[in-house]
Symmetry: C4
Subunit: 266 residues, 4 copies
Amino acid sequence: MSRLKEELHQIIFEADTPAGKWFDTILIGTILASVLVVMLDSVQPFTSQYGPLLDQLEWAFTILFTIEYVFRLYCVRKPLRYAASFFGVVDLLAILPTYLSLFIPGTKYLTVIRVLRVLRVFRVFKLVTYLQEAHQLRAALHASRRKITVFLFSVAVLVVVLGSLMYVVEGERNGFSSIPLSIYWAVVTLTTVGYGDIAPNTPLGQALAAIVMVLGYGIIAVPTGIVTAELTRLPPVDETTQACPSCACEIHARDALFCRRCGARL
Amino acid sequence: MSRLKEELHQIIFEADTPAGKWFDTILIGTILASVLVVMLDSVQPFTSQYGPLLDQLEWAFTILFTIEYVFRLYCVRKPLRYAASFFGVVDLLAILPTYLSLFIPGTKYLTVIRVLRVLRVFRVFKLVTYLQEAHQLRAALHASRRKITVFLFSVAVLVVVLGSLMYVVEGERNGFSSIPLSIYWAVVTLTTVGYGDIAPNTPLGQALAAIVMVLGYGIIAVPTGIVTAELTRLPPVDETTQACPSCACEIHARDALFCRRCGARL
Amino acid sequence: MSRLKEELHQIIFEADTPAGKWFDTILIGTILASVLVVMLDSVQPFTSQYGPLLDQLEWAFTILFTIEYVFRLYCVRKPLRYAASFFGVVDLLAILPTYLSLFIPGTKYLTVIRVLRVLRVFRVFKLVTYLQEAHQLRAALHASRRKITVFLFSVAVLVVVLGSLMYVVEGERNGFSSIPLSIYWAVVTLTTVGYGDIAPNTPLGQALAAIVMVLGYGIIAVPTGIVTAELTRLPPVDETTQACPSCACEIHARDALFCRRCGARL
Amino acid sequence: MSRLKEELHQIIFEADTPAGKWFDTILIGTILASVLVVMLDSVQPFTSQYGPLLDQLEWAFTILFTIEYVFRLYCVRKPLRYAASFFGVVDLLAILPTYLSLFIPGTKYLTVIRVLRVLRVFRVFKLVTYLQEAHQLRAALHASRRKITVFLFSVAVLVVVLGSLMYVVEGERNGFSSIPLSIYWAVVTLTTVGYGDIAPNTPLGQALAAIVMVLGYGIIAVPTGIVTAELTRLPPVDETTQACPSCACEIHARDALFCRRCGARL
């Protein structure tokens, strides 16, 4: 029993053995195919012609992924820990929408979230260097999370103030029909997206908008500066992509003997 | 008397005692609730249904904040200094618009400026590290203020020249109906916002616009470079969030014994 | 004679003497006033009402600046060198358009180029530190001019290729009516301006446009990286490390008025 | 025979001799002229008037470039290596579309790809410093290619998820008529291009869009940070622009005696 579990773990979670590699490669192919099916299902000409076929395919994929999910839970030593991990949650979210669509129509399109499962691609194809650099990026973002939180918080407050000011200046005649909508306009402008669906018409509003734009143009320097400063600071890391046999947590230092999450021997 | 003042100061300005913490938590909740009320008041379906209720709520909030403002002035040792500080001005601006709306309709929406008071949140919930990083960000922006002023001044001059050039090239037929409006277009384009409400139609105008875009695309490097260089340079700071008892100025070095603004013992 | 020249030079070119300071201050005021006149002249309601007055004012300003230009040429030791310098050319361009407008109508609006003369403001008001930082910025841009030239050259080539590709893919039916216009679209998209006056309609065109956007989103990193690297390399500007007169404790915040250790006035 | 080959190589591939310089200068002029012809050919007024003339010119240029391409293949020692190099492929692509247009109309406009040949300009005019800085830029981009791949991969996954979410939220009533189109919208928004051809109309959709914008505004920091960190790290390089006589590979270290690609003596 335990032998079977271990072998299944080797195949499903690791990509070191030929069987494990085959499993992961086929899995990624299946995921991409299923995402493509969902996408085509939303395009008018395809739905009207192949609607039932696409629906059947979608159900087939979902049942396949459900079986896989059950097997993953079965062969991991600490199933709850896996279920609560990032990929565990994604694996669940990848199958739920299809079942939900039986009760709430339209939700089936949310199954595209299973595209997140493809992020495993770096591990499967032994793209260790890529995984290391990805980890480095994540480390830089993690180190700057507090500064970025402060920045986003300030931007949120700024956007509320600017949006309300604009609502008073431009008013409902010019498309700024409510404060929430004006705040939406402020976000569109401050981030330099600029749809143009709502745009100021009065001279005063345009002057204010110009200030918002220059502000947005300037404060983009802040997140960039934060991340750059962190990236310049970080030393190169050295890691492997071996998954922990008991909690499926990935990425350990090359000389690690125990999992950094659950303490199990690697 | 002086005892009462000191205790009030503890509760209103500090967040070290349980009472002070409670006061600040309730205050932030009240501020957010009042901002929500003003926002809803601007949304058509809500106004027509709950208009009078929302107005009454708004007045209740304003009177509450007015009382709080008076108490703040009362228990601070140097009231004028507090009234002239950033949060002192914000606290006043947070109540003024409602009173003003008795004379000038529409200004009541400006009360959302009280959302700025929420910036105290970092101090209240003892998010010291966040406050430190916020201070670090501010220090970096402060250190680069002169370079940014020079940059903004150059951009302002550039925008005037480019806008006028475009007015001559495109003219009133193509929507560039005056120089101020053309300058507005130049800001919209240079900052890469690009609403599209005004866009060049003649080949010469489009060529000129393309140059403006590439220019804007390039000079965004300047503020980013300035802030990044400062952020890379800054050493980590070590500070506390204790407010000065006599002038309410916040953020002092951890080893500070005296307020850096008014010299009072902390 | 030579004395007169020297004194005139002191007044017109320098800002060290009271007379020179007055001259420069009045000059900047006059320039801003004349720019305002030109701007108002382009706004419909103003022209129809005050058109002749604005025209007269414009001519008065131009004659004033012409006299000033002649005096500048007269009192400088090497008039040709001044005439060929940046500010010499700007001073000439600031008066030419009004005279030109006698022959070519509409060119008078180009006189706003005289706003460039305002850049002298930093020198006039002894904003030495600002001037230093402006010089530092210019040095960084100068050091990176070759990398930026290579970058702009590559972007120009890229934009021609992408625009032509889009012309073939979308064609004249979808607004991409010629290669030059498609190149204009490519610039609008690559620089993330995105007016939306021309936008792809076919699925293939939209896929190609998405690639152009991601490309533009990515290569903005290049000029930013270039300028930032140069700015990081430059030596830091002098900081205020004033020692406390009573306890000799160093490093105070720039806005500190009292020593943070002993409370003495700095 | 071998003498002739060597002399032709000197003229066609090198720019050290007067003949070689003349050849390259004329070549770049011819390329620019031919690109201009193709562009004009796409502009309506020109085509209807000078259509046949422009077509003849286009054919003349193509035959000229074909002859040149044959000579390049002839005088290089390892023709296959040259044909597979970047400039070899570009040289071929610069002539193919005209021939292809005999079978598939419209493809002739793709000949503008020959503008890529102009990139040789830096070598021709001995702009060694420019070439070095270009190489440095390329080195920085090369060093950060893995981080950028990870970034682009994550952005691609994100865009699929966000686009699908928006499709479910906004639906076909509001212009989000299929998942692929919604993904296109997500790219337009995340990269802050913001055409405005598709924009959210429901409050929930606008809130989601605001989050996407702030996300896009923030993650632009990532590629910028990556490239900046690399550029700050790189030491100045020292190289020459001599082309290898046997494989035409350019840019070697100044003290190199052998080609870094094929090992031939320089």
